[in-house]
């Protein structure tokens, strides 16, 4: 683990290079208690059995069950117990009230802002290994080639095979190798995105590590998680791995050209997914034959148009503000 910023996965590599920390990467500020006013830490004396008489290091005995700051008295179950020996500070409890994922979420928010600043529509593609994510990406980039520019962040534990497949389409791609890591996190994606020089891109496709469990918990800053389920996997996957389908905003059912050969009930798969994520939209595609790809690219183009419109509105607002400030400067400037 990095001792500078606390991020995990010391063996993460981006296009083969270690994710080093000699740089300044805007560490998210975790210093501020979210719900505790500065200096309002709750101090409580702790003892093993607060009302039990106990002997202090000076030889005196007494019993007490008192507290400070109006918080209810509670006995710490930690190993310290009574800490009244001279020279030792009293053990105390301080409020924290922070999400375990606070650091990842702060990086994700920074990524989301970076995507918005570029007017990029970002998707986080999640699935089991072998669902056809990379084949779908290659097909998608080809289908959109004349209409927009896409870039790709590829996540895998090892090898740059997927990034090479993407680069063969002419699209920019960066490979993140997570080593033993089972998912991409927002910190890795921030670095990978910066290395892509993405300012003229409309679409960022993030292919997460093939894993239907872990990537569900990690926001990367994407507009949507898209879960890909192939018909060779079984229509009960949404119930077996509910967290992933619960976190998704779109389900793409891939390899539908194989439906005649497998026992996969499309309607049942959709019904199962909607048990954990009501109204989850679903698309049926075959990345191999191209069936349904037009619906998928239309969904992407609508997202890109919305991202671009939001970006353009932001730029127009900033331009107006610059004009206002320039006008004000012109009238307020002292004359020579």
């Amino acid at each position: 683990m990095c001792t500078t910023c606390g991020c995990g996965h010391g063996d993460t590599r981006i296009d083969g290079a270690a994710l080093g920390h000699e740089h300044d990467h805007g560490k998210p500020d975790l210093r501020t208690d979210t719900t505790t006013a500065a200096g309002a830490a709750v101090y409580r004396h702790l003892s093993v059995g607060a009302t039990q008489p106990h002997r202090h290091a000076d030889g005196t005995w007494h019993s007490h069950a008192h507290e400070h700051a109006g918080a209810p008295a509670r006995v710490a179950s930690g190993p310290l117990g009574a800490a009244h020996a001279p020279g030792m500070s009293a053990s105390r409890i301080v409020q924290v009230e922070q999400d375990i994922l606070a650091q990842n979420n702060a990086y994700a928010a920074a990524n989301r802002q970076a995507f918005a600043d570029c007017g990029i529509f970002a998707l986080n593609l999640v699935s089991s290994p072998g669902s056809g994510k990379t084949t779908l990406l290659v097909r998608t980039i080809d289908a959109l080639r004349d209409r927009m520019s896409a870039c790709v962040i590829e996540g895998d534990q090892q090898t740059s095979l997927d990034a090479e497949r993407i680069r063969a389409t002419g699209a920019r791609a960066v490979q993140v190798n997570t080593g033993k890591g089972c998912h991409l996190d927002a910190h890795m994606v921030g670095h990978a995105f910066a290395s892509l020089d993405p300012h003229d891109c409309d679409l960022l496709l993030i292919e997460n590590v093939g894993n239907l469990v872990c990537p569900a918990a990690f926001d990367l800053g994407e507009a949507h998680k898209v879960v890909i389920l192939s018909v060779t996997e079984g229509d009960d996957k949404p119930l077996k791995y509910p967290d992933m389908f619960h976190a998704a905003d779109l389900m793409v059912i891939n390899k539908v050209d194989l439906l005649p050969h497998v026992e996969f009930d499309v309607d049942r798969a959709i019904a199962n997914a909607r048990r954990v994520r009501p109204d989850l939209p679903a698309l049926h595609v075959s990345a191999t034959t191209g069936e349904g790809i037009a619906d998928w690219t239309a969904w992407i183009e609508a997202g890109c148009a919305a991202a671009r419109a939001a970006h353009d509105a932001d730029v127009a607002r900033l331009r107006r503000r610059v004009s206002e400030l320039e006008a004000k400067l012109a009238t307020d400037s002292p004359r020579a």
Partner: protein, 127 residues
């Protein structure tokens, strides 16, 4: 990277719990540093019943990632707030034991999760 024992609890998806434990440790370390604490003896957590984490796996990983840190040997006290959802057909808040379960009142799956997904550090005991 701190060394992590190679024998996780059997049959659990333990790997993302390592990352969660590292996230937990970074929150705890930052809070301890704010209060100039040299030792954290207890961490009180809230892990909702619907949260995407296996508490026992998190406990195991936390013990591993805290070695050599201010929180080495700290006890993890985990509260499990129940799942709560908004049932659209009922128009009411209902209990939800797990994702994929039906509304206990009307049997619908049109449920919007309201509570039970949280993974929060509530307090730490220092000193």
């Amino acid at each position: 990277m701190r060394s992590i024992p190679v024998s996780p609890p059997a049959s659990r998806s333990v790997v993302h719990e390592v990352a969660l434990a590292e996230g937990l440790l970074s929150v705890v370390e930052a809070a301890a540093a704010r209060h100039s604490a040299t030792r954290v003896h207890t961490v009180w957590l809230e892990i909702g019943s619907l949260a995407h984490v296996e508490p026992e796996a998190l406990r195991f990983c936390f013990a591993a990632v805290t070695r050599g840190s201010v929180a080495e040997g700290a006890a993890l006290e985990i509260a499990r707030p129940p799942g709560l959802a908004w049932c659209m057909p009922c128009g009411e808040r209902v209990a939800l034991a797990g994702l994929g379960d039906a509304c206990p009142v009307c049997g619908s799956y049109q449920l919007q999760v309201l509570e039970g997904e949280e993974m929060r550090v509530k307090e730490i005991g220092i000193g």
